[in-house]
C-alpha cells in the first residue's frame, strides 16, 4: 500500500515539475555549443563591452562570443586556476597586477603575442619573454575627496600619502579591509611602494592614530561613509576622504540624476596605486584559434576606446582616445605608485597579515 502511495506522490510531483523543466529546456540547447564557431571568454563581473563593438568583432571574425562572468576579480582568477586542466573557456580577461604572479606560476596561460602588442604603451608591458599575458586596461586606486567639505572648512585637500597622516585630516579618511577588498589592498600596496618594505608599518601606525576608519567593502566605504558621493551624503556619511578609483568622479557626473557642471569629488593625485588588467589565452583552450582572434580584438583601437565608459578604466594602446567627459572629470593619475607583480606575489600575504594585526586588532 505504501509503495503505491509513493508512486502516486512521485507521479504527481513529476507532473508538476515537468512543465517547469521543459519551460527552460530551450535555453539549454543554446548553451551546449562548444564548437569551433564559438569563442568563450571567462571574466569577472565587471566585464562590459558595447553591443555594437562586440557585433563588429563577431561579424569580422566569424566567431560567436560567449561570456562567462564568474564573481569578483579574485574569485574569477581562483576559479580559473581550479579548472585550468579543463578550462571553461578559451580566453581569460581580468587578472590584475596584484594576482598576476599567482596566475603565471600556476600555468594558467599559454604563450601568444597578439597583433597590436607593439602598440601597447611601453610602461604596461610585462612577461616580454614568453608573452603569456597581454595588458588590456589600466586604472588607478586613489583617495577621493569631497570638494564641498574642504571648501566649507577652508581646508586644502590632502595631496599625498604623507598628508593623510597629518593632524589636519584627523578622522577624515575611510578605507577598505585589505584582506577582503581590492581597492583596500591596492591602497596598502601603494603605501608599501611609497614607504618601502620596512616603512609602511610606521605609516599605518600614524594613520591609525590619525583615526583612519576601515570597513569591509568598497560599497560601504563609498555609499555609507563617504560624504562626497550622492548616496553617502543621503546616508549621512561623515568621512570626506575615501579610498576609491581615479575614475569615480566621472561616474558621479555621468550617473547623476541631474548632471552637474563639475564633479562633486576630486582625486588626491599623490595617493594613487596603478592597477593594470591582463588577458591571456588559457592553457588547454578548446578553441585556441578563436581565442587568439579575440585577444587581437582586445587590443584594437575600437575596443580600447569603448572600454572607458563601460568598465571605467583607461586604454593601454597608444593613440586610443578617451571620451571627453571621462578625460575631463577623471584624468589618469600623473605619477601613481607601481609595484612589480613579482614583488607583490612575494609579499602580499604576509603584508596583509601584518596589516590586519596592526590596523584591525
Amino acid at each position: 500500500m505504501h509503495n503505491k502511495t509513493l508512486v502516486a506522490v512521485a507521479t504527481g510531483l513529476g507532473l508538476l515539475a515537468l512543465p517547469a523543466l521543459t519551460g527552460c529546456g530551450s535555453q539549454g540547447a543554446k548553451d551546449s555549443a562548444a564548437d569551433s564557431g564559438t569563442v568563450t571568454l571567462v571574466s569577472h563581473d565587471s566585464w562590459l563591452v558595447s553591443k555594437s563593438v562586440m557585433k563588429d568583432f563577431e561579424k569580422r571574425s566569424g566567431y560567436k562570443v560567449k561570456v562567462l562572468k564568474s564573481g569578483d576579480a579574485g574569485q574569477a582568477v581562483n576559479k580559473a586556476l581550479l579548472t585550468k586542466d579543463n578550462p571553461q573557456g578559451d580566453v581569460f580577461f581580468g587578472v590584475d597586477n596584484t594576482l598576476l604572479s599567482r596566475a603565471l606560476d600556476n600555468g594558467l596561460f599559454q604563450s601568444y603575442e597578439p597583433a597590436g602588442s607593439d602598440r601597447v604603451l611601453p610602461g604596461y608591458r610585462v612577461d616580454q619573454d614568453e608573452h603569456r599575458v597581454t595588458p588590456v586596461d589600466t586604472g588607478d586606486i586613489c583617495v577621493n575627496y569631497d570638494k564641498a567639505y574642504f571648501e566649507e572648512h577652508r581646508l586644502t585637500p590632502p595631496r599625498t600619502f604623507a598628508d593623510l597622516a597629518e593632524p589636519a585630516y584627523k578622522n577624515l579618511l575611510v578605507t577598505e579591509n585589505a584582506s577582503t577588498s581590492s581597492p583596500g589592498l591596492g591602497f596598502l600596496l601603494g603605501s608599501a611602494a611609497k614607504f618601502g618594505k620596512d616603512g609602511w608599518q610606521d605609516y599605518w601606525k600614524k594613520l591609525k592614530e590619525n583615526g583612519v576608519k576601515v570597513v569591509n567593502g568598497w560599497e560601504q566605504a563609498y555609499y555609507q561613509e563617504f560624504s562626497g558621493s550622492s548616496e553617502g551624503r543621503k546616508a549621512g556619511g561623515d568621512r570626506p576622504l575615501v579610498v576609491s578609483y581615479a575614475s569615480s568622479p566621472p561616474a558621479e557626473v555621468i550617473y547623476a540624476k541631474k548632471r552637474p557642471d563639475t564633479a562633486p569629488t576630486g582625486v588626491s593625485q599623490g595617493t594613487c596605486f596603478r592597477q593594470t588588467e591582463y588577458a591571456g589565452l588559457l592553457s588547454h583552450a578548446k578553441n585556441a584559434k578563436g581565442g587568439k582572434a579575440f585577444l587581437d580584438f582586445l587590443l584594437t583601437k575600437e575596443f580600447q576606446e569603448d572600454m572607458p565608459l563601460n568598465m571605467f578604466v583607461y586604454p593601454v594602446r597608444e593613440g586610443a582616445a578617451v571620451p571627453p567627459d571621462f578625460a575631463k572629470y577623471g584624468p589618469q593619475a600623473e605619477n601613481p605608485e607601481t609595484m612589480a607583480p613579482g614583488t607583490i606575489a612575494a609579499n602580499r600575504d604576509s603584508w596583509v597579515k601584518s596589516w590586519t594585526s596592526l590596523v584591525l586588532r
Binding site: 519551460g23 561570456v67 562567462l68 581562483n78 579548472t83 577582503t180 540624476k257
Partner: protein, 533 residues
C-alpha cells in the same frame, strides 16, 4: 528514496568531497594532520569562538523578541494579521547584500536610533545580533506560532479553574507542550546564525569574522584551499551535530500532542494586558522589520516620476547588456525550475520518510538533506566547478546548474513542510478507497491530493521564494550573461553613481514585492498541521 539519494550524492556530496579533497589530499594521501595545525592557530580559534558565541547570543535574542510575537499570532485575532505574517517572513528570503544596506539605516549613522538617542550600533556586535533577529524572526514565529495556535487552550483554562496562577498554568501546561517546538526553532536559528555570512560581512566591520566568512576568504581571496578544507570540515561537524539534535527534537515533538484547528483558538484581545502585548509586538515588528524594508522602498522612490524604475527597462544604462528588468524574468524562470526540482526531490524524500516502517537509515537521511543549509555556498560552488566537469555531467556551463544549486537549498524546506502532513494522512482512507475499487492513480487524486494539496502549494511557495532570494551559490556559478535579481542588485551596488544605487534599490523593492506576493498567497492557503516554518 533512490532519486533524492542520487540527487543528493551527485549534486552535493560529490562536489563538496571533491573540493575538500583538493585542499587536503596531497599525492593521493589524505593529510588530516593539517587539521590540528589550522585549528590551533590563534586567529582561527578566535574565529571559532566568535562564531559560536554570537550564534548563541543571536538565538537567545531572537527567542526573546519573537516568542511574544508567536503568542500574539497564535492566540490573538486582529485585522491585517495575514499581511503582517507575510511581512515578517519577507526578510528571511531577502538577499543579505540588500538587507545589510537597509539595516544600516536603522542602527547606523543618521538612523532611527541615532536620531532618537544618539546611539550608533554599526560595526558593533549589536548590529550583527539585531540583524540576525531581523532575518530569523519568522523562523520562531512560524515554527512556534504554528504549534501554539493548535494547542488546545482548554487545557490551560482547566489548570486555571483548578486554581493555578496564570503564570503557573502557562509554565506547567503550555510551556512543556511548546518546548520541543521552541527547541527546534532555536536550533534552526542557531544553525542559520552559526553559518551567517552576508550580515557579518556587511554590518560587522572588519574586526568580526565567522567561520563562513573565513572559508569564503580563504577560498576566494587567499586561495589557501587546505585551510579552507579544514574549516569546511569543522563547520560540517558542527552543523551535523546541530542537525542531529534538531532531528531528535522534531521527532519528539511529532509524537504526543493532541491538536485542534487553529481558527478555534484565536480570539480578539481582551483586557489591558493583552492589548499591551499586542501593541508591544506590533511596535517591535514595525521598528525591527518594517522600518529597514521601508527605507529600501523610500530610497527606490527618490527620483522624480519613478525614475529609477524606468531606468531599469533601459538596456543602455551601462551595467548590463540587457535591461536590468530582464533579471526579473531570469529570476522567475530559474525559480520555477528550482521549485520543480525541489518539489520532486523533497516530495519524494518526504514520502519515503513518512512511511511508518521507515528505518533508522532513512530517518538519518532526513538530517542529511538539511546539510546543504549549513555548508558554505562558496564550497558548493567551487565543488561544482571541479566535480561536474566531465561528460556526461559537464554541467558547468549549463543554465541548469543555477536551479540545481537553488533546489539544494529549497528541498529541505519542502521536506519540512510536507512531512508532517504526509504523516498525518490516515492509511485506512487509502485502503478503503482501494477496496472500493479505485485505481492507485485515483486513490492519489481523490484521497492524497486533496489532503496534501495545500502543503504541496505551501512547500512550492517556500522553495520558490528561497530560490528567488538565493545569492551565495548563484553568484559562484558561471552563467550566461543573464543575472538573477539578487546578483543584478549586487552588481549595481558595486558601481559608483546615484543612478546605479537607485536602480539597485528599485530592483530590491521589486524582489521584495515578488517575495511578499508569493508569501501572501501562501498565507491564504495556510492550513492546520502544515509545516514548521
Amino acid at each position: 528514496m533512490a532519486l533524492p539519494a542520487v540527487f543528493f550524492a551527485v549534486f552535493f556530496a560529490w562536489p563538496v568531497t571533491a573540493i575538500v579533497a583538493r585542499g587536503l589530499k596531497a599525492d593521493g594521501v589524505w593529510r588530516f594532520g593539517r587539521m590540528a595545525d589550522v585549528v590551533t592557530q590563534p586567529d582561527i580559534r578566535h574565529v571559532l569562538w566568535f562564531t559560536t558565541w554570537q550564534a548563541l547570543a543571536s538565538t537567545a535574542l531572537t527567542l526573546l523578541l519573537a516568542l511574544p510575537a508567536a503568542h500574539v499570532f497564535a492566540r490573538l485575532d486582529f485585522p491585517g494579521k495575514q499581511l503582517l505574517r507575510a511581512v515578517v517572513t519577507v526578510p528571511f528570503v531577502l538577499p543579505t547584500v540588500v538587507v545589510g544596506t537597509a539595516f544600516l539605516a536603522l542602527v547606523g549613522r543618521g538612523g532611527l536610533l541615532d536620531d532618537l538617542w544618539g546611539v550608533r550600533l554599526d560595526t558593533t556586535v549589536w548590529a550583527i545580533l539585531l540583524a540576525h533577529v531581523f532575518f530569523n524572526f519568522a523562523v520562531v514565529v512560524r515554527t512556534v506560532g504554528g504549534l501554539w495556535a493548535q494547542l488546545d487552550p482548554r487545557q490551560e483554562q482547566a489548570a486555571r479553574m483548578l486554581g493555578a496562577a496564570p503564570l503557573t498554568a502557562w509554565r506547567t501546561v503550555t510551556l512543556p507542550a511548546l518546548a520541543p517546538a521552541v527547541a527546534a526553532a532555536a536550533l534552526m536559528v542557531f544553525l542559520f546564525t552559526f553559518t551567517s555570512f552576508g550580515v557579518v560581512q556587511i554590518l560587522g566591520g572588519p574586526t568580526f569574522s565567522t567561520l563562513e566568512v573565513e572559508i569564503y576568504r580563504q577560498t576566494s581571496e587567499v586561495f589557501d584551499l587546505s585551510t579552507a578544507a579544514v574549516l569546511t570540515l569543522v563547520q560540517f561537524v558542527a552543523v551535523g551535530t546541530i542537525l542531529a539534535v534538531h532531528a531528535w527534537t522534531v521527532r519528539r515533538r511529532e509524537s504526543a500532542l493532541r491538536l485542534v484547528a487553529p481558527e478555534t483558538t484565536a480570539h480578539r484581545p481582551r483586557g489591558a494586558g493583552q492589548w499591551a502585548l499586542l501593541a508591544g509586538v506590533l511596535l517591535t515588528v514595525v521598528l525591527l522589520l518594517v522600518l529597514p524594508l521601508a527605507v529600501l522602498v523610500r530610497r527606490s522612490l527618490d527620483a522624480p516620476g519613478l525614475g529609477y524604475y524606468r531606468a531599469l527597462t533601459d538596456a543602455d544604462g551601462g551595467t548590463f547588456l540587457v535591461a536590468p528588468l530582464h533579471a526579473v524574468w531570469t529570476s522567475l524562470e530559474y525559480a520555477v525550475a528550482a521549485t520543480g526540482i525541489a518539489l520532486l526531490i523533497g516530495g519524494l524524500a518526504a514520502a519515503a520518510l513518512a512511511r511508518r516502517d521507515a528505518g533508522r537509515l532513512v530517518r538519518g537521511f532526513d538530517a542529511l538533506l538539511m546539510l546543504p543549509l549549513g555548508v558554505s555556498a562558496v564550497t558548493v560552488g567551487f565543488g561544482f566547478l571541479i566535480a561536474l566537469d566531465r561528460p556526461p555531467l559537464d554541467l558547468r556551463q549549463s543554465w541548469i546548474l543555477v536551479p540545481l544549486a537553488q533546489a539544494l537549498v529549497g528541498a529541505p524546506f519542502v521536506v519540512r513542510t510536507m512531512l508532517p502532513v504526509l504523516r498525518a494522512v490516515d492509511g485506512r482512507l487509502r485502503e478503503a478507497a482501494a477496496v472500493l475499487g479505485a485505481s492507485p492513480w485515483r486513490v492519489w487524486r481523490e484521497v492524497d491530493l486533496p489532503l496534501v494539496r495545500r502543503a504541496l502549494l505551501i512547500a512550492a511557495g517556500f522553495a520558490f521564494a528561497v530560490s528567488l532570494g538565493e545569492f551565495g551559490a548563484t553568484v559562484f556559478i558561471a552563467r550566461p550573461d543573464n543575472p538573477t535579481l539578487p546578483v543584478a542588485v549586487a552588481r549595481l551596488l558595486s558601481r559608483p553613481g546615484e543612478l546605479n544605487y537607485g536602480q539597485a534599490m528599485a530592483l530590491s523593492t521589486i524582489l521584495m514585492v515578488v517575495c511578499a506576493a508569493a508569501l501572501l498567497v501562501l498565507e491564504r492557503l495556510r492550513t492546520d498541521r502544515t509545516g514548521e516554518f
